[in-house]
């Protein structure tokens, strides 16, 4: 769906994007991460067709964003950073205007607008003037705008900016649902959000792509280990030792207890999944197991460490 080949973007003599190449397949939900000033917004602006690349090629659904700009733009729903809107319009007026610009007229327009209003939970404020809405609602109007006309590709620049935790969870659910039949590229400062929503993460630093993989693998690759958590009922003094004796397990410790169930944190080699063997060892000892999962909590640490390492390099 997205193919970026040796993309360079300069502002004057300042190079913001330096030889970026990446690919996003149809149906993927990809997160773009990076510290401030890494080039996330510029990347999204180039992909959306707003900024022309200084050199390199950007294809959206097979169409070049420079030479076949209109064809490329027809496939994109774009939410710019801070969701800029016309403050003097009402929500419904704004969405109707945007729908007409995207080529929806008459009944198709009404139906399209109605659909995004209900998807983004905006039905109650449809008659309100945008300038009087809270930041969270404005963000949702921007998101609704990007969804009008059901574009194949959604490019969302910081979609959760200004939302409260509840709204953020709703947004996460919405993007996950959209991810079923859309390709989504989103940028975010919130690592947990990217972890929770995205199939894959692309990390950008100073205009370069420094990593592109699942959050779990990035964490694993950087931290040198993976973490599995388990809840087991059995004799406290034997559980941790039994699991630690397994191959590839580096460390196993009990980090909590709840009415007889011990919460274990198991560190293992990064390229091995020890979950089946943990289950087997618990079963063979006749203990009980009620939870067993691979944690991705190392991701935030991994990200911070990676950026620190790159800054020192």
């Amino acid at each position: 769906m997205i193919k970026v080949d040796h993309l360079v973007r300069r502002y004057g003599s300042h190079t913001v994007l330096d030889d970026i190449s990446l690919e996003v397949q149809r149906g993927e939900v990809v997160g773009l991460l990076g510290p401030n000033g890494a080039g996330k917004t510029t990347t999204m602006r180039v992909l959306s067709g707003f900024l022309p690349p200084t050199s390199g090629e950007v294809l959206i659904g097979g169409y070049d964003v420079v030479t076949r700009s209109l064809d490329a733009r027809r496939r994109i729903g774009y939410l710019p950073e801070n969701a800029p809107l016309y403050p003097e319009l009402r929500v419904l007026e704004y969405l109707a205007y945007r729908a007409r610009l995207k080529g929806l007229h008459g009944r198709r327009r009404r139906r399209g607008v109605q659909k995004v209003l209900s998807l983004c939970g905006l039905e109650d404020v449809r008659k309100r003037i945008i300038g009087q809405l809270s930041k969270g609602y404005r963000q949702r109007v921007g998101l609704a705008d990007s969804l009008i006309g059901d574009p194949e590709l959604l490019i969302l620049d910081e979609p959760s900016l200004g939302l409260d935790p509840n709204q953020r969870r709703d947004l996460r659910d919405l993007i996950r649902r959209l991810g079923a039949d859309h390709t989504v590229l989103l940028s975010s400062h919130l690592l947990t959000e990217v972890e929770a929503i995205c199939d894959r993460t692309i990390i950008i630093h100073e205009g370069h792509v420094v990593a592109s993989d699942t959050p779990r693998n990035i964490a694993g690759a950087l931290m040198g280990h993976r973490v599995v958590s388990a809840e087991v009922r059995g004799p406290r003094d034997q559980i941790a030792a039994a699991i630690e004796s397994l191959d590839h397990v580096m460390e196993s410790e009990i980090i909590g207890e709840e009415s007889g169930w011990f919460h274990l944190r198991v560190q293992c080699a990064k390229d091995v999944d020890v979950r089946a063997r943990v289950a087997a060892v618990v079963a063979s000892n006749g203990w009980e197991l009620r939870d067993l999962r691979a944690e991705v909590d190392g991701f935030e640490d991994a990200f911070i460490e990676m950026i620190r390492g790159l800054n020192q390099a």
């Binding site: 707003f50 774009y78 950073e81 003097e88």
Partner: protein, 243 residues
């Protein structure tokens, strides 16, 4: 075409659904009306025809009007970031520029058109006026429309070069004043420069047309000038060099 109409409609709504627009119109009509009455009182026989007086009264306020109308056209969209939304939907830069231009021109035309009514109000309130030459009136308004069209295009281009409305307003005001001072400058410089400048002098064109002397050269000048400036505006927008 349909997208141009959608955007033009949005621009028109932006003008005509706001109280500021009607306030601007009222102030403009009051000020030009006062100027017209003042020039009329200073106009001793044989003097200038009424069509010249009305053209002068309207034109002298045009730099301010065009500045107010055009200063925010692109600058405001750039400042608030909505230009990014506008240019990432499937519309061409030509459609965007022409819709903004058409919107601004529509507003100025609606604002200026009622000034022709002053000439018909005078006899109604009992002022003795010589017979009115309709041809001169029409040609006067024709050249006024062409000059305004050119100046509005310049204002549009300048508002695209900055995101600050104050900078845009100052730049636009200076640029729009240039054609009107050409006549004065041409009289101050030696030939052959004065001939060239006189050809570009908007005030001279205006006086000629308002007296009923229709000349095709200024028409060609303003139409081609407007097209050139609009073309430049589209090119600047396409390059996004100043975004």
């Amino acid at each position: 075409m349909r997208k141009f109409l959608v955007m033009w409609q949005k621009e028109l709504a932006g003008y005509f659904l706001s109280a500021t627009a009607y306030l601007t119109m009222c102030v403009f009509l009051a000020v030009t009306g006062w100027t017209f009455v003042w020039t009329l009182s200073k106009n001793e026989a044989p003097g200038d025809p009424l069509t010249v007086l009305i053209a002068i009264s309207v034109t002298m306020w045009m730099p301010i009007v065009i500045t107010v109308v055009t200063m925010g056209l692109f600058a405001e969209e750039k400042r608030s970031g909505t230009l990014e939304c506008l240019l990432t939907v499937p519309v061409t830069e030509w459609q965007v520029v022409m819709a903004k231009y058409a919107g601004a021109m529509s507003f100025v035309v609606v604002m200026v058109a009622p000034t022709a009514g002053y000439l018909f109000i005078l006899p109604a309130v009992g002022v003795q006026v010589p017979s009115l030459d309709l041809g001169s009136l029409l040609s006067g308004y024709l050249i006024l429309a062409l000059i305004v069209g050119f100046c509005t295009a310049m204002g549009l281009l300048i508002s695209l070069l900055t995101r600050n409305q104050v900078v845009s307003a100052m730049g636009c005001f200076c640029a729009v004043c240039v054609p009107f001072v050409m006549g004065g400058v041409s009289r101050a410089v030696p030939q052959p420069a004065s001939d060239v400048l006189a050809y570009l002098a908007a005030d001279e064109h205006l006086l000629g047309f308002a007296r009923g002397m229709v000349d095709t050269r200024p028409i060609v000048l303003y139409v081609s000038g407007t097209m050139l400036v609009l073309f430049l505006t589209v090119r600047v927008l396409e390059s996004r060099r100043w975004m």
